[in-house]
């Protein structure tokens, strides 16, 4: 029997008064980490909410771990641990109260793991939510999701607003969860470093659409910046791969996607001297993607 995909979205759309989610295809297999990146308002949270069954798409299909949403969402939700920023805990109650509450609903709750997480996150069971910092609240909600040991973890901006130490604790725990090869993580982040570090797949979202979605190594490998010297003022070759051109006198810096060796030759053939070819960080790719997408939609 084939293992079902962790998530499979086919042609989903959603229309809001001021925002439109265009056709979204998104899938990844179990045992992997998918990171969603994109600017504010691009639609990352909407996609996550459609996947966990909180928002029903206008068209298209969503299946999670082989269960169709929303029809089979009861079975699916047993296996999904969703955490988002706007999740509220009971202010006047303790972490222990919340742990007992979740435990009473999900029989998969793991007491030992919950204890380990309390220790690793520096949390005290008896502490009331009221006096907790933002970081402690985030870690408490993550604990409540993780200790259920769901097959799919869906985290909306898990590291936003965390200090470097708390951020590391959260990322470490996300990777620890991946020791189980049937577990999968889908998360969104503004922090491109987080996504670059732990994701197996990266999906780039802009203005309600998926701009790029692929294996992280290919994603990072595909983008290059060529530094060129153009002594005789030659015309740049007309390549569809070019995403950005910055010029200062005779010096050019050209950003390309889907890089391969023939691209270098094309520039050389056009009479330009290639000084260096650099890789880009995910952050630079992010900015270049946004800039290009803006130009295209303008």
């Amino acid at each position: 029997m084939n293992t079902p995909l962790a998530v499979e979205c086919k042609g989903i759309t959603k229309q809001y008064p001021h925002f439109q989610m265009k056709i979204v295809d998104l899938s990844f297999e179990q045992g992997t980490v998918m990171g969603l990146v994109g600017p504010n308002g691009a639609g990352k949270s909407t996609i996550l909410r459609m996947i966990v069954g909180l928002v029903v798409p206008d068209s298209g299909s969503v299946s999670v771990l082989g269960y169709f949403m929303p029809g089979e969402q009861i079975a699916a939700k047993r296996n999904i641990g969703f955490v988002s920023e706007d999740m509220r805990l009971y202010e006047s109650e303790t972490i222990a109260f919340h742990m007992d509450f979740i435990k009473s609903i999900f029989d998969s709750w793991d007491d030992e793991y919950a204890k380990t997480l309390l220790r690793r996150f520096d949390l005290t069971k008896e502490q009331k939510i009221k006096g907790m910092s933002h970081g402690q609240r985030v870690k408490a909600t993550l604990l409540l999701a993780l200790a259920r040991r769901p097959k799919l973890l869906v985290f909306d901006e898990p590291t936003t607003g965390l200090d470097p130490a708390a951020r590391k604790e959260v990322l470490d725990e996300m990777m620890n969860a991946m020791q189980d090869e049937t577990r999968s993580i889908l998360f969104s982040s503004h922090n491109t470093l987080d996504v670059e570090q732990i994701s197996d797949y990266i999906t780039f979202i802009y203005d309600g659409q998926i701009i790029e979605s692929r294996d992280k190594e290919e994603f990072l490998d595909g983008w290059r910046r060529l530094r060129l010297t153009n002594m005789q003022n030659h015309q740049l070759p007309d390549l569809t791969n070019i995403r950005e051109v910055q010029q200062s006198g005779k010096l050019y810096s050209v950003t390309v996607n889907n890089y391969n060796d023939s691209i270098r030759q094309q520039f050389t053939k056009s009479g330009l001297f290639v000084d260096t070819i650099e890789r880009l960080t995910l952050e630079e790719i992010f900015l270049s993607n946004v800039k290009y997408a803006k130009q295209e939609t303008a």
């Binding site: 020791q179 994701s199 197996d200 797949y201 294996d215 190594e217 890789r279």
Partner: protein, 121 residues
């Protein structure tokens, strides 16, 4: 098990190359002699908190370079015929490459760079 791979954030090379280098170093200094079983890809990835696909790529490239041998479904081992000199040569080449790049960006001519290297031999 604790493998203590320390990856650098200021190192400009991609993460998979840093992982490759750390493995090669362990082999070069003899900590991982031939036939040593390497940690599984998932095990190493979750320990050093780096995506599985990145470690997978590091292993694939090491296998291609003949540094490790992988048997599908069983694991990866340090290759038998480990040419230590070759690994060290490679290391030296990397340093020279860095030196060359730096000299170029500082505008130091070739003969001057050669004189500088001579000082250390």
């Amino acid at each position: 098990m604790d493998y203590n791979f320390v990856l650098s954030q200021t190192d400009k090379r991609p993460m998979y190359q840093q992982i490759m280098e750390q493995i090669k170093q362990r082999i070069a200094v003899g900590d991982w002699p031939p036939n040593t079983l390497l940690p599984s890809i998932r095990e190493l990835a979750t320990e050093i908190k780096v995506s599985i696909i990145t470690v997978k790529r590091a292993y694939r490239e090491l296998e291609r370079d003949g540094v490790i041998t992988t048997q599908q479904g069983k694991g990866s081992w340090v290759s038998q015929s480990q040419d230590l000199n070759k690994l060290q040569d490679e290391k030296l080449k990397q340093h020279l490459e860095q030196a060359g790049k730096l000299a170029k960006s500082l505008g130091i001519p070739e003969d001057e760079l050669l004189d500088m290297i001579k000082k250390y031999t």
